[in-house]
Subunit: 417 residues, 2 copies
């Protein structure tokens, strides 16, 4: 598997002003193309730091080094200089780069009502490359830089995201034409209802020397990603690992689909519809369901019953139940799910009520206590959970739990179940 390192420069990326997107974009793209990204370094516009970051990256001898930012016309634009330092070569004006620059300046001159001759003195430094390097055609004004260091291919692009991404896509297409990227397959296995240690134990017991394996935990789910060459032996190993996970653990997806995608597919396939009744999630569950384009085919809407009066007045939760059991209870979760299903004329009603925190807890109703209810053609079920984490974490896990309860109910009633 080829390896890559990424170095991105820019003060604005380090002080919270701008979210670094180029490194994230290119590392995701490289991973999908079967390249192992070993590091992404974001570094200040400081010549010694940038040179040191480039040197460290080259010292790990990656097959590819992608550099972003610092190719403009200001004193902060240090990449060509620092790259020359790190490669141990002088910086020289390149005739082809100068021609590319003059060409791209024609557009700028026209827009600003001036001439290339006016702009060139300041822009000219952008035609200076590390000796032995070659310019890459600009997507904006500044040309990129292609160079080599041992077996490492080095490519530097300007930091403006649309320029960076367009120029990277061009380089990636050329690398693909040279068969630089391996034939790689990625498989994603998603598990709900057990912890990371159980998943790690199954993986550790499996033979997977030909696979790159990773585990991610979030929202109560554990996600395993397997990446391997598309040849027979690694593929067979991946199939065996997926089967082992499915045998031992509550796997719900082996084809990359998230629980959100699966709910959409299950409801869509059955011609069924969904409504939600939300208390502690306050609308976030509906917001998540409708984040998917096309959700209007099965999602009817619902009620945000944040205040008890809304639970009672709109969802018809009996006031006796609210008084006797409290809003955070099995009884109220069931009544909310049944109420919203009836009210919206949906096949399924899904409810969430809980203590998201930090306030609102009582001795027998701690922060993180959440009841999730699902009412459907086969009756009503309620789950009780106690989620760890802060308000956002509790709410996120509650929404995920609700979608899984719905899936369990649909699957258990379907011919496949």
């Amino acid at each position: 598997m080829p390896s890559a390192a990424i170095v991105i420069s820019g003060n604005e990326l380090l002080d919270g002003r701008v979210c670094e997107s180029n490194g994230r974009y290119v590392s995701a793209d490289l991973s999908d193309r079967g390249v192992k990204v070993m590091s992404v370094v974001t570094v200040a516009d400081d010549p010694s730091r940038l040179t040191a970051a480039l040197r460290s990256a080259l010292a790990t001898e990656p097959d590819l080094l992608v550099v972003g930012g610092g190719l403009g016309t200001t004193h902060d634009d240090l990449t060509a200089f620092c790259l020359a330092e790190a490669l141990g070569v002088p910086l020289e004006e390149d005739a082809v780069a100068l021609a590319m620059l003059a060409d791209s300046l024609r557009d700028v001159a026209e827009r600003r009502g001036t001439t290339v001759q006016d702009l060139l003195p300041q822009a000219r430094r952008q035609a200076r490359l590390p000796s032995g390097g070659a310019p890459l055609p600009p997507a904006g004004v500044a040309p990129g830089i292609a160079a080599r260091h041992g077996h490492t291919r080095v490519f530097a692009f300007p930091g403006v995201p649309h320029e960076f991404m367009a120029m990277w896509r061009q380089v990636a297409a050329e690398l693909a034409a040279e068969d630089f990227f391996p034939e790689v397959v990625a498989r994603v296995v998603r598990i709900f209802g057990c912890g990371e240690p159980s998943v790690a134990a199954v993986l550790e017991a499996a033979s997977r020397d030909l696979l790159e394996t990773s585990i991610t935990v979030g929202g109560g789910e554990v996600t395993v990603k397997l990446r391997h060459l598309s040849t027979a032996r690694p593929a067979a190993q991946a199939v065996a690992v997926v089967a082992a996970l499915e045998r031992a653990l509550p796997v719900f997806s082996t084809d990359g689909r998230t629980i959100d995608d699966m709910i959409a597919d299950l409801l869509g396939a059955g011609g069924e519809s969904l409504a939600v009744a939300e208390s502690c999630t306050g609308g976030a569950l509906g917001g998540r369901i409708t984040a998917l384009p096309g959700s209007s085919a099965y999602f009817r809407g619902g009620v945000i019953g944040y205040a008890d009066e809304v639970k009672e007045g709109i969802l018809a939760v009996p006031s006796d139940d609210l008084r006797r059991y409290g809003a955070v209870s099995t009884t109220v979760a069931a009544a909310m799910a049944e109420g919203v299903r009836r009210l919206c004329g949906a096949s399924y009603g899904l409810s969430v009520t809980g203590v998201a925190g930090p306030g609102g807890a009582a001795p027998e109703k701690p922060v993180g206590l959440v009841y999730v209810g699902c009412s459907g053609p086969r009756g009503t079920r309620v789950c009780r959970d106690r989620f760890p984490g802060d308000r956002a974490a509790v709410r996120g896990q509650a929404a995920t739990r609700a979608l899984h309860l719905l899936r369990e109910d649909i699957v258990s009633g379907s011919p496949r179940g």
Copy 2:
């Protein structure tokens, strides 16, 4: 100005699975506290790479090294080991760390219906620290690590974002108590209703040589951040710049509060209440309002009227209006806001209906067309906008627009207005 380096580990951050948020969070926070962040390195879960990244960071002799990730229980969790290598000390089990771990495992055991003794064998490695280091109290299960290397203060936290952030806030409070941070002031000015060029023009005309100024654009708002030493001359310059922005532009916040915070304060102060009726946002507006702790004091709930039958049946939008004007119209936005206000007995009803895309557009109803309605004691107002961007961007801007419409209505009716 003290300097900092940040090292974050995790394969999932390099292959596009998860957006790296911890490094971004802590670098922004450090900048606000007057620390110059020199580099953020994201590195694979690989012992030699992680050790090398930690060594490189220590070699630059920053005042602070913040490390995130790799403190869990799996074979991928290498931080304690690599940090010990980089510091040149052995790894040792720490009695205080072990006690912290047993304490945090009690909660986990209770949730999973098992015992600490069952969990401890696998979790125990989390009590191993580089010799000379000290454990930091966990926000989840794993303790953090505090260490020193020359004048560099080193702090390592688990990578789960809410744990990382809570533990960093705790450490930052202790560093602040030791006067580690310089006296720096950051002022945030938020503007809604004009573009970045107008803001840039005002800033360029102001004298601000003692200020570090930055502009960020997002969700239809423009945010200006001014940072300066807390001495008299820079402070006076900042006051003058803020005043110039307020004179020329629709500034809505000069004290750091977001529009979400301001709505919470305005409703809370007036003892007023809010309900929402959401179509294209599908609950995301309610989700956003209830993301703030304490929102139950003023937020009553609402109706997600995704299907027209729900708009008609629950919100009492006249079917004639839906037929004649369509769901995405001034008339329906007004009826939704009025309907939900009445239904929930709230002081204000806020509605959103629009075409979030990518489907659902018509020649006279393009993607991005959104109507936002506000019904309150002074009547009903509707705004029409056409937002750029994809489904998520349109929905986000729609929710932000709704909160601004509500603020305008409350402020115009208050004695301050």
